[in-house]
Subunit: 359 residues, 2 copies
Amino acid sequence: MRRLTVSLSGRSYDIHIGPGLLPRLAEFLAPLSPTSIHVVCTQVVAPLYAQTVVQACGAVAPTHLCTIPDGEGIKNLATVATITDALVSARADRRSVLVALGGGVLGDLAGFAAAIYMRGIRFVQVPTTLLAQVDSSVGGKTGVNHPSGKNLLGAFHQPSVVVSDTSALQTLPVREVRAGLAEILKHGLLADRAYFDATVAALPRLLALDADALADSVAGSCQIKAAVVGRDERENGERAILNLGHTFGHAIEALTGYTQWLHGEAVACGLCLAADLSARLGYLGPEDLALIGSAISRAGLPVRIPGLSATAAFAAMRTDKKAYAGRIDFVVLEKIGVAVRRQVDDALVEATLADGGFV
Amino acid sequence: MRRLTVSLSGRSYDIHIGPGLLPRLAEFLAPLSPTSIHVVCTQVVAPLYAQTVVQACGAVAPTHLCTIPDGEGIKNLATVATITDALVSARADRRSVLVALGGGVLGDLAGFAAAIYMRGIRFVQVPTTLLAQVDSSVGGKTGVNHPSGKNLLGAFHQPSVVVSDTSALQTLPVREVRAGLAEILKHGLLADRAYFDATVAALPRLLALDADALADSVAGSCQIKAAVVGRDERENGERAILNLGHTFGHAIEALTGYTQWLHGEAVACGLCLAADLSARLGYLGPEDLALIGSAISRAGLPVRIPGLSATAAFAAMRTDKKAYAGRIDFVVLEKIGVAVRRQVDDALVEATLADGGFV
């Protein structure tokens, strides 16, 4: 088992990574001395892990299970109300702990419910997808979508502890594994060239669900993300680099109704577009561009999603949270391993979209 | 004009109190350099002040108005969604500022919308009722009710500045003035005997809406509350004393459907019950008890609300946010001006309710 720490003044927390951690959850929950535990998961995850987790938690405090539907379509205020209603019914109090058991959507949703229930109760992230383990479970961003934009409503609410059981990844559909690889490649691109190269070299083992390779990637990505979050928890500056590929990616998701493409798939294509934009700004050379595209392809992820409306993509990017007064802050690569934020001329973005297959 | 500061590490803010401040709002908003301003108010307040406020704000940035219905019944997630929808439609971004123009319910609701929009945008409290000016606009508690309990969903989100125009109190119905007096008397009881005595002496002038007396009370109450909040922003300890009378008061509101009694009226009766409980614990003598009851009466507020179910009141107190694992933390008075938290035997609470007219 590996342990990392996210250092935040007054609210530091540990990330535990390794195989077989779900049955050992009591170890990580007992120090929180909860009055009660409330496990939230989706109908897809429940039959796989709910019994193990509820039993493990039950050794620490009275434990309740709240099961909700599955899919990005549930990421709205109505589902948050479903979760908080369950907390009320089970008499959760200020010293209760919520356990978010599942993928990134579930973690964002359940974390947001914990953030607003009684103005904030503690919660534990127990991510069961690669994407959630390497990215969304760390950093305290919680929230829901709005028809006009992704994660438009939410809160910064840090978990008390993150427990990433890498054994859970063995049951993951390959498409979900690939989606997680997009965020892993993103972390390498924006902060650590060596980690990017190592990830590219490890792609075959990662796609084969090799346990050591997975644990290395989860720990490596969490380390990169934890360092960035530790320096800028509330995204007043540097943290925005974690959005590399996401301005394009969110636009793709918005244009396709959040259902056609997984978040990681949209981000993968967004990384290629961000790399292309970086090249147009004179940063990346053709070799780097080819390297990035080849890595995305070898991970089984889309480098292009053709046929979407460039005009609609532009409009979606303008309502993105990262836009101010209609101007869009893009994260671009100065080189592989170094990301910066830039205001970019509309013409460059239009050219990038056109060459990326937008019409 | 008087100026007070709420001292919080990194998020200190000023409270401006005085007559004629609404037309001068630009002075207080300009330092925030907002990209846009979004004024939220109710249908009752809109015809009185919306035009003045929108015009004043318009000098600083493009200003939008969002009008919502009136009453405690609107304090729910659906209304929060109405406000955030309006923010999306008006293209509010991370540097926009929301202005909460109205009473306590509006401030709690609009503040919560600001807390969760894009994970938190800045907001300004512009309270127009005595209760909001002396209490709810200060301290950063925002939220909405749940059928099972008051303010069960919410966030700590401090305003960037509070502007209390005491001229607005001249249009207030007398019942609303009295409701505000309950919180003013509460502040004296829990922290400052001299302020309590001065308030009691000033009751006739306050009820006659004497401008100086009102400004003194608003400033005095804000000073007491700001000091407590500055020492314990997130209610990990001392701040809970501000809930004096509120455990009983919230139960009264819950039992009467949040419509029959104003919050301040329920708190007034709750203060009498808390005083009675304090006497049963051997703290307050009969003279102090009589003094508190007489002050509440002279303010035109209820000392008893008979005929409610003691059993239902007990149950409501157990789902109150201040309950842990079913045990209720009461705020009681060691003496007038000194409040403490105590776990109290059920029998004492039952006797207090019985003598208070509960059945």
